[in-house]
Amino acid sequence: MGNGYAVKNENFRSWFMDKLLMGLSWPEYSRKLLTPFNVIAAIILSIGLPLIVLRFVDGLYLVTHASDDYPWGLYLGWGLFGGVPLSATGFVMATAYYIFGFKGFRPIVRLAVLTGFLGYLFAVIYLLVDLGRPWRIYYPMIIGFGTASVLFLVAWHVATYLTVQLLEFSPAILEWLKSRRVRRWATMITIGMTIAGIILSTLHQSALGAMYLLAPGKLHPLWFSSYIPTFFLSSAVYAALAMVIVVSTLAVRFLRDKAGPTFLGSIDRITLGLGKGACIGMYVYFVLKVIGIAHDDNWGLLSTPYGYWFLVEILGFVLLPALIFTLGVKMSSVRTVRFGAFLAVIGIIVNRLNVSIVALNWNLPHHLHHIIPPWREVAVVLSIATIHILIFRWILNRMPVMREEPGYEDH
């Protein structure tokens, strides 16, 4: 009996080392953790996490830039409005591969779905830090239904889509756990989940823009437009393609040993393909933006200070990366396409921050005088972003995302 216990214990030990410590022993594993990146991460977390705790002791004012006139700061501007379009990766790549049959993208689909899933998860975490009473997060689902509210739609969709994406990613988790039978069930719902993902994503990506339709007197006319839901959806599509390039570039750069030969062998070709898609998407978006100006006849506003900033956004962060993509695709230069992708991703964040922070309340007397966020808000944002990266790395290190698990068929 004692022997049986010992065997069980030994089994658990080897499972633990295999699954969680990547096959290393404790001392080996902890020694491996001592890297410059981890030290910086630890420093950031040691400042940010106590601040999050203090928020629940002393109040939201401690960690937020938000005020009565500016109800939303970086948590939503960066985390939710910036994070969600960059997390359209799962829906865009799954649609391209499963529905439209772009079979060449197969090696990258899992990475895209994981990027999407974690992106939404962390958008919700940013929201939880920002909410006055986060423990009531489920209220729109059970307690009160604000059916006329666009945010009601966003709440339902983000919650549902988070579940859908977890299911979409579950085959990787189940292969890691070697749970063959459950994995078979999980792969049977792939197509259903992908189509659900398209519906939910089209609606809530555009709904995030539609939220600002309620602020016609507050949002600068160059950014306020009846087209804003279309702007948000259309930019999310190219954002997703650019984000997949960015994430795969970083993953190949820093976690090359976790990528399989198929992934490494096809990543350049895939990057060029994604760049081509992103390029087309960006020209479409650029034309839409120009039509938006024409529709509201806002040409005159372009020669105002806000107009200059608007031009920087659509020329420097939309048209320029689109041209870089064009050049990269024409020359088959992976490096150029990657450079364009980084610029495009930054451009998306610039646009969402413009809508949620820079151009909102533009007509208040002292607008932009307090644009620099307080260090505490920045520290909390950095901490959440750090945890995001750590969890991403933790999963890539262990689960078959950029490689194939031998013995499992495609799905």
Binding site: A155, I198, A210, K218
Partner: protein, 337 residues
Amino acid sequence: MDNEHRTDKEHEAVKNGGGNSDCKKRLTLTRRGFLGTVASVGGAALISNAKEACGYKEFAGYPDSFGCLTDFTRCVGCRSCEKACNEANNLEKPQVPFDDKSVFEETRRPNAHAYTVVNRYENPKDKSNPIYRKMQCNHCKEPGCATACPIHAYSKTPEGAVFYDESLCFGCRYCMTACPFYVPSFDYWSALEPKIVKCTMCRDRIKKGGITACAEACPTGAITFGKREDLIKVARERIGKNPDKYVDHIYGEHEVGGTNWMYVSGVPFEQLGFPSHLPTTPLVEQTKGFLAAVPVVLTVWPALFGMCYAALRHRNEQDKQDKEKEASQGKEEMKNG
């Protein structure tokens, strides 16, 4: 002197005559039709939900709802309204007393400790005679805050007030983004029970037949309480009798579909910090088109993308069959050859 006397009388008339008779009417109505109201509210809730789902519902505002009219030509900046509001709503006493005029040095806004504030603006017509503007929730007929709220924590009450229910709120603050008048404020200093703070239009006092504390306290008759329809008439009359004194604009009559708190002024409203370029339709109209597209996406997308997938599978199978055929043909040719 004569002018002042008349305005006071006019004020009293609306306050007493209008207010009291309305209250009586309302009380009898409440007694008589209580059960009927319960039934119709229940029925209306069902029907209105169904209508809302279609995305098109016209709401002209509650008839006989109350409101206030603030006349900036009468306000002298004594802050009696701020004091009365603070007391009537049991708010925290401010550090600077209410008779201290130094607060006018900066522009204030309603906050977690004050439902209403008065600000001072320069009078372009007469520099020695500044204009004072009282600010509080305007109690829109179809409020943007209520449209924004994902949990339905806001409701427009038949009495006219826009009511906020703290017990439903999770503190997302979308109502603050949506409010065109920068009214709702948030209690950022409460760790575990932060809530939205805004004017309630003394809902409980009105229900008991009273008038708002600020209107009652105003010594110059700058705040007139009454039925919204009556207030518009009063405002028109004042502008009509003194076209030189007033600008020809009742702020709140049409802004974002109309508000229950309205204003008349001697100078254009944008000079007093009022948002000027607001639509005349309620904010809910802005998002109706978008929400109407939701059912379309929900039904058309699965069909469309399901078809795409079906076509893809069909082509794959066709390719497979063609290949098999070719292979078997090839074999036969080999045999024959």
